[in-house]
């Protein structure tokens, strides 16, 4: 459209451009145009001038924005997995695993996580992390998730032998479990175990690294490794909670104090076996060298502290933690304290694993509670305020007399008193020799 042009070359007309300019002179159609003074349509506004001719830019903008938004959503939903694989059902990141196995050729295999109702017996490992060197297996860490069994004796004997050793120290905080420099276990919370009935054993996540009782451990390294195992255990538990769609996650565990490292002690005297007054290692059962015994007790359970939930909200920061099990290994130092193990199991789920053994014992034990003796395993249960408590004795082999049976009456009596269960007695028969 014809536009008048002023003397400086600028188009004349109502001025709507942005720059500071001298306002143009009011428009007057030049006489020479010979047109009627019809006001021209206003030139396109500022915004329209910018966008006009640039629809492609706008489209690109929207597309980029949409992609950005999608990316944010995908990132938030966590489906963009990290480049290195998380092991054992996505629960152990490379950083966590590096605390458990040193650098090298790492291979891992895992079986699918079974549904909680089914369970694998005999602790067959479900996830293995292996370090190879020149095709030789140098180290192995295995992880497991299973419900402890009461029907076969495997858990009461073999699982407890490894995982309820007096080397195990209780974890602190809201998670229930124990850890040493070679083994770790934690209980899946009841809210994630379906509907546990009374007497149901717990479902546990476990980690095993190397032999259960390592020899010649250097203290600082044992402590470091134990912390690494505790950390991996919590990650494993959280991973399982996630896989099962259960709510809640445990926080990273604090470093465990040096005071909770297991220690072998020479026995103070046969009248106070395992640090509990009144527990007597008698000549019968322990023999003449009962004064040369050594013991190791669950760390943190030394004091006269009752086990039940000392790490709940009422506990002070320095108070000992408890997983509901107090273990004591008795024997000779050079023999890995393998003579006798005494356990007080206040955790109801774990107690159930042992008490089921009582269905068909070789010898029944009578008294305030009920119990049985089956050679290598002796179990006596009583009903305390917290529920069923199992007093357990395990011995590898015995001569003419069973140390377990010899110590049981004083053990049960003293321990019941210590945990606030009142008077509990047991009558032990003389075994035919």
């Amino acid at each position: 459209m014809p536009q008048g042009t002023g003397a400086d070359g600028e188009p004349q007309g109502p001025d709507v451009s942005t720059g500071p300019k001298e306002p143009a002179a009011p428009e007057e159609p030049e006489a020479g145009d010979g047109e009627a003074a019809v006001p021209e349509p206003a030139p396109p506004g500022r915004w329209r001038r910018m966008v006009r001719g640039k629809p492609a830019v706008a489209v690109v903008g929207v597309l980029v924005g949409a992609l950005l938004g999608t990316g944010v959503m995908v990132w938030r939903s966590g489906e963009l997995s990290s480049t290195a694989k998380d092991m054992c059902w996505g629960s152990l990141s490379p950083d966590v695993v590096s605390g458990l196995v040193s650098d090298g050729e790492i291979r891992d295999q895992e079986l699918p996580l079974r549904a909680l109702s089914g369970s694998a017996h005999n602790g067959s490992p479900q996830c293995r992390i292996q370090r190879f060197k020149n095709d030789n297996l140098e180290w192995e860490v295995t992880a497991n998730v299973r419900k402890l069994s009461t029907t076969d004796g495997w858990d009461a004997r073999q699982w407890s032998r490894e995982f309820l050793s007096s080397r195990m120290a209780p974890l602190r905080g809201e998670i229930t479990g124990m850890v040493s420099s070679s083994r770790a276990w934690a209980v899946l919370p009841a809210s994630c175990q379906g509907m546990p009935r009374e007497g149901d054993p717990p479902t546990v996540v476990t980690l095993s690294s190397g032999p259960a009782e390592p020899r010649g451990e250097e203290r600082a390294e044992a402590r470091r490794y134990r912390d690494a195992l505790a950390r991996a255990l919590v990650h494993l538990a959280n991973g399982v909670l996630d896989k099962y769609g259960c709510e809640g996650r445990y926080p990273e565990p604090d470093k465990m104090p040096a005071s909770s490292l297991p220690e072998v002690k020479d026995e103070a005297g046969p009248e106070e076996l395992c640090g509990v007054k009144g527990v007597r290692a008698t000549r019968r059962g322990f023999g003449a060298d009962r004064h040369a015994l050594s013991t190791r007790v669950t760390p943190g359970a030394e004091a006269e502290e009752s086990g039940a939930q000392a790490n709940g909200p009422g506990a002070k920061a320095g108070a000992p933690a408890s997983a509901g099990v107090r273990s004591c290994d008795v024997g000779r130092k050079d023999d890995e304290l393998g003579e006798l193990r005494l356990m007080t199991v206040e955790d109801q789920g774990l107690a159930w694993v042992f008490s089921e053994m009582l269905r068909h014992p070789a010898v029944r034990l009578k008294g305030t509670g009920s119990g049985g003796f089956s050679g290598d395993l002796t179990v006596y249960t009583a009903t305390c305020q917290t529920g069923q408590v199992a007093f357990v004795a395990q011995e590898e082999g015995f001569g003419d007399e069973s140390a377990a049976l010899a110590v049981l009456p004083s053990y049960v009596k003293s321990e019941a008193k210590r945990i606030g269960c009142g008077e509990v007695d047991v009558k032990v028969p003389r075994l035919p020799s």
């Binding site: 910018m50 924005g65 949409a66 809201e174 009841a190 809210s191 809640g248 909200p313 009422g314």
Partner: protein, 426 residues
Amino acid sequence: MAESVGPDGEPEKDIARTTRHRTALVLLLALVVLGAATLVTKVSSGAWSSTKRSFCWGAWQEGSDPEVLGDAITDGDTFARSGKESAPPAHGERATCSVRLTTTVERDGSDDEPGGSDPGGSDGGLDDGSDVGSGDGSDDGSDEGLDEGDSRSDGESSGSTEETAEYKRVNAEFGPVPRGAAQRRAWLMEFLDARAAPLPEGLPGVVGKDRGMLVLPRECDSGGLPSVVTVRGAGDMPSIGGEQDVADLLLSLANTARAKAGCDAGKPSRVTVPLRGSERDDTFYMGDSTCRVPGLRLAAGREDHYNVTVGAVEKDLQTCSIEDQESVRAPVPAGQFVMTSRPRFTALFTGLSGEAAPGKGWRGKGRIDGGNGLVTAECRGRPTVFFLQLDDRLEKKATPDSRRVFARAVNSVAERVDCPAVAPST
């Protein structure tokens, strides 16, 4: 301002203007990008559902667990959801709200009895406030054109009619615990029920499948009494959902109530770890050691149908509830034993007894009155409450008598938690 003319004769834009235009263009582009990103993010995260309502002063959102808030469609029936709420929580005052699911059922006009559509169940004395379903206007759907009760009169012929039946209801409350002794005991019986397990991470509350309770921080105290929030399922099926669901409802309500009542200065009420789940124990046994507490001797006869539930048994909390299940459909709470040294829990017993000892030889202060016993004594440096209540019928079964039963129970529990004897030995 000088302006150059380009080779095609068109005036070239001034340089400054071009730069400004370019800047504005870039800005516009950035805005478009941001806008699109936000749009996509919001739409895919579902935060843009304009039809979702909220309840209880905004604490609970439709479309989440548990069932009372979720989208429940069962057997072809569609559930309608409605809510009520009183004035918002205010310091020292009681506020109530509720959410319910109702279903409308077509009934053949001829042979049904005219019946109330609310199938019984307790309402818990809920204040009637305004109907609410905020966010979407006040239409709550369920009562549209329907009567709650009879939908037709006798003699009306044929024609199917619709009845509204209440399927699920959750009642919630905020406020100080009841002041009067009898009401307080009833409240304790209900909300420290052994079926509700304590919350983790030191939160002073309990959750079960049909109820939850949280004691609010000291800032919310009023008149010397702690303020609490409670949720309670009501109706024929009082179960609300899983413990996690109840905890979620309870905590979101607590935070909203604290904000409205102006006592939310501290940390929000929150749980991150898994709930422990109630390791409780149901038993029909009632004898020398009811609740597994030696000395709590209640002689049950053959005609009795009591159910005992042992809840928490910890160093600082022990709960046990006794229920009369003579009428299986409507069990009646009959008794309760509680021990606690958790500070916010002990506050729940404030004002129930005076400063005197409960009797000669007792340590601490309290009162024993028929089937009700309360004593607060120092244990390991902390005030510890021991509390027993038995209804008249149970009180008669206390052997040798309720006073001595209380004394023996208190001492048994005191011994368990390494506390010197509180009651005289009897």
